[in-house]
C-alpha cells in the first residue's frame, strides 16, 4: 500500500486573483464525450436547494447586499434609449436609497452593481454614464440573442463593442453546434470570440433553454470553458425557458470539474426570469453549496437581471422599517 503522500492528488484550487482569466485549454473530445448527467438526481438536488437552506434577518440583508454587488443590471429592450440607459447607470452607481444604506450601516462598503449590461448601440452611453464609478459596461454581442448573424459580422461586433469601451462581452453560442454535437465547431467559434474580446472578459451564453438535454448543457459548458470563456451564462433572457436551478447545478458541477482539471476558476452567470429577491438567494445558496464562497463575489458570480433590484430594495426596506413600500415608490419599475 502506497503512502498517502505518494498518491496523485487532485490539483489544489489556487487562490483566485482578481485579474485571473481562464486561458482555456485545447479541446479534449474524450472529456466532452465522457460527460453524463443523471437528470433525476440533478432535479432532486435542485429541488432541495431552495428548501434546505435559508437566510434570515441580518444575514438575509447582507446576502441581498451581496446580490446587488453581483448583479449585471441589464436592459435589453427594443425601445432602449440613451435616457433609459443613463437612468440605469445612475441606479447602478447608487442601487440603494441613501437612507437605507445609512440604516443598514453599510455606507463604507460602497455598494454598487457588478456591471451594466446593454446592447452594442448603447455602450458609449453607458460608458459615459458610468465614468469614474469603476463599474464595467457589458455588451451583449455576436448577434444576440439567436447568434445566427454571419460569422464575420459577429466577430466585428465583438471588436466594435470592445473599441467602444465595453469591458465585458456576453457572446451567444450557435445552439445548432450543440444540438448536432459538432464540438470542434463550437470550440472554434468560442475561441475566435475570445480572441476578439482581447482584454475584455467574455461570458459565454449557452441558451440552455434551447439545448434540449442537461447532458448537452454539461458538454456545451465544458467546451466553452475549454475555449476560454471567463464566465458561462445560462440564457439570453429571450428563450422560452431561462435560468432554472437544475441547469445551474449542472453548470456549477462543470465549473468545478474544469477547475479540478485546469486550476482555472470560471465564473457563472444565471440570467433571465430572476425577478424576486428569494430567487437571487436561491442562486447564491446554489453557488455556496456547489462551488464555495469564492463564487459569491462579482469576480466569479453575476446575476443577470432587470427587475430584481427593485425587489431587493423592497426587501431591504422591509428589513429596515418593518414595512413594504408600494411599487410606485421605487424608481425602477
Amino acid at each position: 500500500m502506497k503512502a498517502l503522500s505518494d498518491r496523485p492528488r487532485a490539483i489544489p484550487a489556487r487562490p483566485f486573483l482578481k485579474d485571473d482569466r481562464n486561458p482555456g485549454i485545447p479541446l479534449d473530445l474524450d472529456v466532452v464525450a465522457g460527460l453524463r448527467v443523471n437528470r433525476s438526481a440533478v432535479e432532486r438536488r435542485a429541488a432541495t436547494i431552495p428548501t434546505r437552506r435559508t437566510v434570515k434577518k441580518e444575514w438575509q440583508a447582507a446576502w441581498l447586499l451581496r446580490a446587488i454587488t453581483c448583479m449585471d443590471l441589464t436592459t435589453l429592450q427594443g425601445d432602449d434609449t440613451p435616457g433609459n440607459v443613463l437612468r440605469l447607470c445612475a441606479k447602478a452607481r447608487r442601487p440603494l436609497r441613501p437612507d437605507l444604506v445609512d440604516a443598514l450601516g453599510v455606507g463604507h462598503l460602497d455598494i454598487k452593481v457588478g456591471a451594466v449590461c446593454v446592447y452594442h448601440a448603447l455602450v458609449p452611453t453607458a460608458v459615459a454614464g458610468l465614468e469614474g464609478s469603476g463599474i464595467p459596461v457589458a455588451a451583449v454581442s455576436t448577434g444576440f440573442p439567436a447568434g445566427l448573424n454571419p460569422f464575420a459580422q459577429r466577430l466585428e461586433e465583438v471588436q466594435a463593442s470592445v473599441a467602444a469601451g465595453a469591458q465585458e462581452i456576453d457572446i451567444v453560442i450557435t445552439r445548432a453546434h450543440v444540438l448536432t454535437g459538432d464540438w470542434p465547431a463550437l470550440y472554434a467559434e468560442v475561441r475566435a470570440f475570445r480572441d476578439a474580446c482581447g482584454r475584455a472578459r467574455m461570458k459565454a451564453i449557452l441558451g440552455t433553454g434551447e439545448l434540449a438535454t442537461l447532458t448537452n448543457v454539461a458538454r456545451a459548458s465544458m467546451v466553452a470553458m475549454m475555449a476560454g470563456a471567463d464566465f458561462i451564462k445560462t440564457s439570453t433572457g429571450k428563450e422560452p425557458i431561462n435560468a432554472v436551478l437544475p441547469v445551474g447545478v449542472v453548470m456549477a458541477r462543470m465549473i468545478r470539474e474544469y477547475e479540478t482539471r485546469t486550476g482555472a476558476a470560471v465564473g457563472f452567470k444565471p440570467a433571465g426570469g430572476i425577478r424576486a429577491a428569494k430567487q437571487a438567494l436561491d442562486w447564491m445558496i446554489l453557488m455556496k453549496e456547489e462551488l464555495g464562497d469564492r463564487w459569491l463575489r462579482p469576480t466569479l458570480f453575476r446575476l443577470g437581471a432587470s427587475a430584481l433590484l427593485t425587489d431587493i430594495e423592497r426587501q431591504l426596506e422591509h428589513f429596515v422599517t418593518g414595512r413594504y413600500a408600494a411599487a410606485h415608490r421605487h424608481p425602477m419599475v
Binding site: L4, R7, R9, A10, T48, T51, R52, R53, T54, V55, K56, K57, E58, W59, Q60, A61, A62, W63, L65, R66, A103, L104, G105, V106, H108, L109, K288, D293, L296
Partner: protein, 305 residues
C-alpha cells in the same frame, strides 16, 4: 446594524430557527403534556397509573409525560387488535389501500408538525426530519398502499398472520413506524406498536392522525413504555408475530422468548457497517461522508448499519 456589514464579508447562512410553538401546543393539548396509551382508537390511561418523562435532548427540558405500559395495558391492546383483526383482514385489498393512501396524505398534511415534534423528541436536526424522515414516511405509506391493492394478485395464497407486535428504536422514530406499520397493515394485519421510551411522541401523534384519517379502531395501537413493556408484548400469547429493531442483545432475548411459541419473528439487529472512503476525497468530505453514512445526527451515535 454594523453586523450586516460584517456578515456581508463572511456570507454565513446564520440561524434560521423553526418555530417549536405548534408542536409544543400539540403536546399541551393532551392533558397538559400527559399521554396515555393509544388503544382501540382512544387514549387509555395506564392501568398502574405510572408515567415517565420524555425530554428534549437539546435542552434537557421535559417535553411530556408518557404512560408506562404494564401487562394489563398489553392485554387491553392485544384484545383490541384481535377484535379488529377479522374485519381488517376481510376488507377488499383496494379498501385497505384507500386507508393507506389516506395515511400517506395525512402525514404529508401534518408534515411540519411531525418534523418539529420529531426533532424536539429525538434531537436530530430539523433539516433531517423535515427533508428526509417525514417525506420518506409519506412515501412508504404511498408505496405500501400500492402493495395493499396488489396483495392478492402478487402474493396469491398468502393470508394475514393476525396481530403483529412491533418494537422500534429511537434513531428514526417515525420512519421506523412507517417501515414496520405500513407493510403490516397493507398485508391485512393489525398492529401493536411499542416505540422507544426515549422517542414516543411522533408515534403517538401518528396514532391520532391515523384515527382522524378514519382508520378503524384497534387496527393500530400504541403502548408506550420501557423494556418491560416490550417483554410483555413479546410474551403475550395473543400476538402472532413480533417485529423488532434494536440491539443484538435484546434480539437474542426475543429469539429465546419466542422459540417454540409458533410466533413469527423479524429481527433487525445492531452491527457496524464498514465505510469505504475514496482517498482522493478531502479530509472534510471524508468526515462528512462517514458521518452521513452512519446517520449519526441523532442524540447519540446511531446504531444503524
Amino acid at each position: 446594524m454594523t453586523t450586516v456589514a460584517k456578515l456581508f464579508e463572511t456570507m454565513e447562512y446564520g440561524p434560521a430557527p423553526e418555530s417549536d410553538a405548534p408542536a409544543l401546543e400539540w403536546i399541551k393539548q393532551h392533558d397538559s403534556g400527559r399521554f396515555g396509551h393509544f388503544i382501540n382508537g382512544v387514549w387509555a390511561s395506564p392501568s398502574e397509573g405510572t408515567y415517565f418523562e420524555t425530554i428534549n435532548p437539546a435542552t434537557k427540558a421535559v417535553l411530556a409525560r408518557v404512560a408506562q405500559g404494564s401487562k394489563a395495558d398489553i392485554d387491553a391492546a392485544v384484545a383490541a387488535a384481535n377484535a379488529a383483526a377479522p374485519g381488517w383482514a376481510a376488507l377488499q385489498p383496494h379498501a385497505r389501500a384507500r386507508y393507506l393512501y389516506a395515511l400517506a396524505r395525512e402525514v404529508q398534511r401534518h408534515s411540519r408538525l411531525l418534523a418539529v415534534l420529531e426533532s424536539l423528541d429525538n434531537g436530530k436536526p430539523i433539516r433531517e426530519t423535515r427533508d428526509l424522515d417525514i417525506p420518506l414516511v409519506a412515501r412508504h405509506f404511498y408505496h405500501h398502499a400500492g402493495w395493499a391493492q396488489l396483495r392478492d394478485t402478487e402474493f396469491p395464497g398468502y393470508v394475514p398472520v393476525g396481530v403483529v407486535g412491533q418494537i422500534i428504536p429511537w434513531n428514526f422514530p417515525l420512519l421506523m413506524v412507517a417501515w414496520k406499520v405500513a407493510p403490516a397493515l397493507a398485508a391485512g394485519n393489525t398492529v401493536i406498536l411499542k416505540p422507544a421510551e426515549f422517542t414516543p411522541l411522533t408515534a403517538l401523534c401518528f396514532a391520532e392522525i391515523a384515527r382522524d384519517a378514519g382508520l378503524p379502531a384497534g387496527v393500530f395501537n400504541v403502548v408506550t413504555g420501557d423494556g418491560t413493556t416490550g417483554k410483555h408484548l413479546v410474551e403475550h400469547p395473543g400476538v402472532q408475530k413480533i417485529a423488532f429493531t434494536g440491539s443484538t442483545e435484546v434480539g437474542r432475548i426475543i429469539r429465546k422468548a419466542t422459540a417454540g411459541t409458533g410466533k413469527k419473528l423479524t429481527l433487525e439487529l445492531g452491527g457496524k457497517s464498514p465505510s469505504k472512503v475514496w482517498w482522493t476525497r478531502s479530509g472534510s468530505t471524508r468526515a462528512r461522508s462517514v458521518a452521513r453514512a452512519r446517520g449519526c445526527s441523532s442524540r447519540k451515535a446511531s446504531p444503524i448499519g
